[in-house]
């Protein structure tokens, strides 16, 4: 056997009060030296449990390997049965011969130790190096993961580093003992797209240089297309399909794989198309989705935002005085037409969410005007603002947190109607039933509580609640980011269908360029609180003019293995801090119109 890893009929069970629950039912695959195997699947498919089993870490989460064999070829050539190995043997394998990268770089590092301490611990334990040898090796490792100023980083604590740098440190830790196998469990899911591109390129280079095998766990088909040699598709604890990356992407055999691939939007596939299009779906939903009619475009302005600025105080010192200000939204102006979607895109901290919340006055803007239907929202008093809220509703990112766990769904959907006294009694009941029908949630769910629903169903209920008072504008703040890709496609299609039927306008806040390309009419790119470029979708995606837009677009992974883009080391300019001292008055935003309706910020 030449394979480094061979997993044979693995079955993992978790003990619960109501008997054992099967996390992984029957999984077999192999990894050859120097190969990247991507395990892909939606949440609950058992992909993480599989990777944890390989490290025997699954036991710490209450799981047991019930059946099957996990063979790992050690550095000395002997074969180790991981499922039967003693804890002390596993201790010498973990972190030494198998390295692991976790999803969350914020929590994978211990906040009370310096970077040096975290890196040298494993080296001294596994390799028997002295303190000075280990420190020298740690420095070498930081250089190999291309962290700027590595000498200084050694003495720093995790909180002093950015998310991207932290993930580089985590990778350096995993690489410290030159493992033969690197397990990466969603290593870029929590990161911004430019940092994701850097990290993926880094993993690719390290793999090439060290001839290491990589087991890459992800839910993102675009990342799979960029990284994998071979792909294992999982669904509910079982393997659906295994094959080379080209096989899977060009000729998937199983329906589930086809559906998964169909639901993934590919950046660039909308080239030359004038209007947004529904997401592709296979199966029951396909018929609904096939009804692709471009949204009627009446050129009538609904939302007019003028010079919107929102700043948050940074407090400090004993007296909790304001020391500085976060310039979250800085001189932002745009208009949104009736029945259209304006997408605000950008990376975390760029101010896109603050912008949406300022428009709804969930946070109070520092200055600027927000006109909806002839009224300046910013100038309304408390009472009128509450009335005006009927016109503008919001859908939040996390469907688990945006519904009250202690209230029945029908009461939550009815709440806005009751608030504005629009209906009561039988009329209210009928209206709520209609809303449930509208978002395709069975009426039988009306009396249930949020925890009885899946993420996608909850988000549909949240949309029903937003629709309850017939708003004109819906602000969708990362409304589909937390959903699995097939569910995401269904929810997006529902939103587009509602837009068409009801003439809704969406302010669609997202970090996902591929989704935005599919659904938006207008796109605004935000950077450091400002819109750096805004215009029709086609203009932004096909002829980006601002350097940041270009950088952002070049970092997006494409769900097509023939278009690989992360072969070499990438290094994007880090995003600057939006915190400025008190009294700092930035220059107003001045734009150049490079094409009709396409504006670019003058730097």
């Amino acid at each position: 056997m030449k394979d480094i890893v061979s997993v044979d009929h693995l079955r993992v069970e978790f003990a619960t009060d109501s008997g054992p629950v099967v996390g992984v039912e029957d999984v077999s695959f192999t990894i050859a030296p120097g190969e990247t195997v991507c395990v892909v699947g939606e949440s609950g498919s058992g992909k993480s449990v599989t990777s944890l089993s390989l490290m025997r870490l699954v036991e710490f989460g209450g799981g047991t390997i019930a059946a099957g064999q996990l063979r790992f070829r050690r550095s000395d050539g002997t074969e180790l049965d991981v499922a039967a190995a003693s804890p002390s043997v596993m201790g010498s394998v973990r972190g030494n011969e198998i390295g692991m990268i976790f999803q969350e770089p914020m929590t994978a590092l211990n906040p009370v130790f310096t970077i040096e301490r975290q890196l040298t611990d494993g080296l001294m334990l596994h390799k028997g190096l002295s303190q000075s040898q280990a420190s020298a090796r740690a420095l070498e490792l930081l250089k190999s993961v291309r962290i700027p100023e590595p000498e200084r980083r050694l003495k720093q604590y995790p909180h002093e580093l950015s998310g991207g740098m932290r993930q580089r440190v985590v990778i350096a830790m995993a690489m410290a003992c030159e493992p033969k196998l690197l397990i990466a469990d969603e290593p870029t899911t929590a990161l911004d797209v430019t940092i994701q591109a850097e990290i993926l390129a880094l993993i690719n280079r390290l793999k090439r240089e060290n001839g290491m095998a990589v087991l890459f766990i992800t839910h993102d088909m675009a990342v799979v297309a960029q990284m994998a040699d071979r792909v294992v598709v999982m669904y509910r604890g079982k393997i659906v399909e295994t094959g080379t990356v080209d096989q899977i992407f060009t000729a998937p055999k199983e329906d589930y794989t086809k559906a998964l691939l169909a639901a993934v939007p590919k950046l660039g596939e909308m080239k030359g198309k004038p209007a947004p299009e529904r997401m592709r779906l296979i199966g029951d939903e396909a018929a609904r989705a096939a009804r692709v009619t471009p949204v009627a475009r009446k050129k009538e302005v609904l939302l007019d935002v003028r010079h919107l600025t929102t700043r948050f105080p940074v407090k400090g010192g004993i007296l909790r005085r304001t020391k500085a200000q976060v310039h979250a939204v800085e001189d932002v102006s745009f208009t949104l037409n009736v029945g259209e979607t304006l997408a605000l895109v950008g990376e975390s901290g760029c101010g896109k969410s603050s912008c949406g919340r300022s428009i709804l006055r969930l946070v109070k803007p520092t200055s600027g005007e927000v006109w909806i239907g002839g009224r300046d929202i910013g100038a309304l008093n408390h009472h009128d603002l509450r009335r005006a809220r009927a016109d503008m509703q919001m859908v939040f990112q996390d469907p688990f947190a945006s519904l009250n766990p202690y209230r029945r769904l029908k009461d939550q959907v009815a709440e806005p109607i009751v608030n504005f006294g629009l209906a009561s009694g039988a009329e209210l009941k009928a209206r709520v039933e209609q809303l449930f029908d509208r978002v395709n949630i069975p009426r039988g769910f009306m009396k249930r509580f949020p925890h009885e629903l899946s993420g996608g169903q909850r988000q549909r209920v949240a949309i029903a609640r937003a629709l309850a008072v017939n708003p004109k504008l819906i602000v969708a703040d990362e409304a589909v980011s937390a959903l699995d890709v097939s569910v995401q496609a269904q929810v997006l299609n529902l939103m587009m269908e509602l837009q068409e039927d009801l003439g809704l306008s969406y302010l669609f806040i997202s970090h996902d360029m591929a989704v935005v390309e599919r659904i938006a009419h207008q796109v605004g790119v935000m950077y450091l609180g400002r819109i750096v470029e805004i215009g029709p979708r086609a203009a932004i995606f096909e002829s980006p003019a601002h350097s940041y837009t270009k950088q952002l677009l070049s970092a997006v992974p494409i769900a097509d293995p023939t278009k690989r883009r992360f072969a070499d080391d990438l290094s994007f300019k880090p995003i600057k801090s939006p915190i400025f001292p008190l009294g700092h008055e930035p220059a107003p935003s001045v734009y150049t119109e490079v094409a009709p309706g396409h504006f670019v910020l003058q730097d």
């Binding site: 009060d17 709804l360 969930l362 509450r386 009335r387 809220r389 009927a390 509703q393 919001m394 939040f396 990112q397 996390d398 947190a401 945006s402 519904l403 009250n404 766990p405 202690y406 209230r407 709440e415 806005p416 608030n419 504005f420 925890h451 949240a462 609640r465 937003a466 309850a468 008072v469």
Partner: protein
């Protein structure tokens, strides 16, 4: 682990039900003068067949006294805790939900009360108002309010930042309705658990006040009063302290067990 918790909860519930039954039914079946009737020939008698739990220095039957005392002790504790909830809940809720200067003003007020140990505060209030059952309740109720308000404020602060509260605000719900419909149900688990813990402390506080002569007045029986009376005869008649002491201990034990389980049942995260 889970099974252990359920058993623990069952013991707690059984214990509390028994104590409550004794406190309610006891005074109905026992003649009212039983607790004060003195058997001068059997003073400081250890447990015998005539006096199952012995007698005190005046020859009064300890069993009757501890049963009749249950009612007084529990009545005071339950009413005082209810009072502290009625006062502390709105205080903490408003403070945590609105934050800002409202929070600052209310919490400085609460902090002022917190600066005094609860028992000292109850003692002062009780001494000023005069010793009787009603004033004991008021004293303990006020003394416990700041603790409850603090905990509720913390919970409300947390819940007020949840997206579903923002979602409610975005859909035009008034502050009052948000507090009632969204914040209150989500902080109730914490309130209930804190209340069971407070009940245990209130029984001890009543015992403490009675011990110092400010709570229940003789010849009426209460557990605290009984412990107080036993203090100078511990060497010759230890049962006079042990019997009411055990009653307090069992009730507190039952409440703690029950409170632990209640917290687990009500916490959505534990499911």
């Amino acid at each position: 682990m889970k099974r252990f918790k359920t058993t623990k909860g069952l013991i707690g519930i059984v214990l509390l039900t028994l104590i409550a039954l004794i406190a309610i039914v006891g005074p109905m079946v026992i003649p009212p003068d039983a607790a004060t009737k003195m058997d001068m020939l059997a003073r400081r008698s250890p447990p015998t067949w005539t006096h199952l739990l012995g007698t005190d220095q005046l020859g009064r039957d300890m069993l009757y006294r501890v049963i009749l005392g249950a009612r007084t002790s529990l009545e005071i504790a339950v009413t005082a805790v209810l009072m502290s909830i009625v006062l502390g809940l709105p205080l903490g809720l408003v403070s945590g939900y609105f934050g800002g200067w409202i929070d600052n003003v209310l919490m400085r007020l609460v902090d002022t009360l917190l600066a005094f140990p609860a028992l000292l505060l109850a003692l002062t209030i009780s001494a000023v108002l005069g010793p009787n059952v009603q004033n004991t309740i008021i004293a303990i109720g006020i003394a416990f309010t700041p603790y409850l308000a603090r905990i509720i404020r913390g919970e409300a602060l947390k819940v007020a930042q949840m997206p579903y509260v923002e979602a409610a605000r975005a859909s035009g719900t008034t502050d009052g309705m948000i507090m009632l419909r969204h914040v209150l149900p989500n902080i109730m688990p914490a309130v209930i658990v804190q209340a069971t813990i407070s009940l245990a402390f209130a029984i001890l506080a009543e015992a403490g006040l009675s011990f110092l002569g400010l709570g229940t007045q003789p010849p009426a029986a209460s557990w605290g009063l009984m412990i107080q009376a036993s203090r100078d005869q511990l060497d010759v008649a230890p049962w006079t302290a042990l019997v009411p002491g055990a009653a307090v201990a069992l009730t507190v034990l039952g409440l703690n067990m029950f409170g632990d389980v209640l917290r687990d049942i009500l916490d959505p995260k534990s499911k």
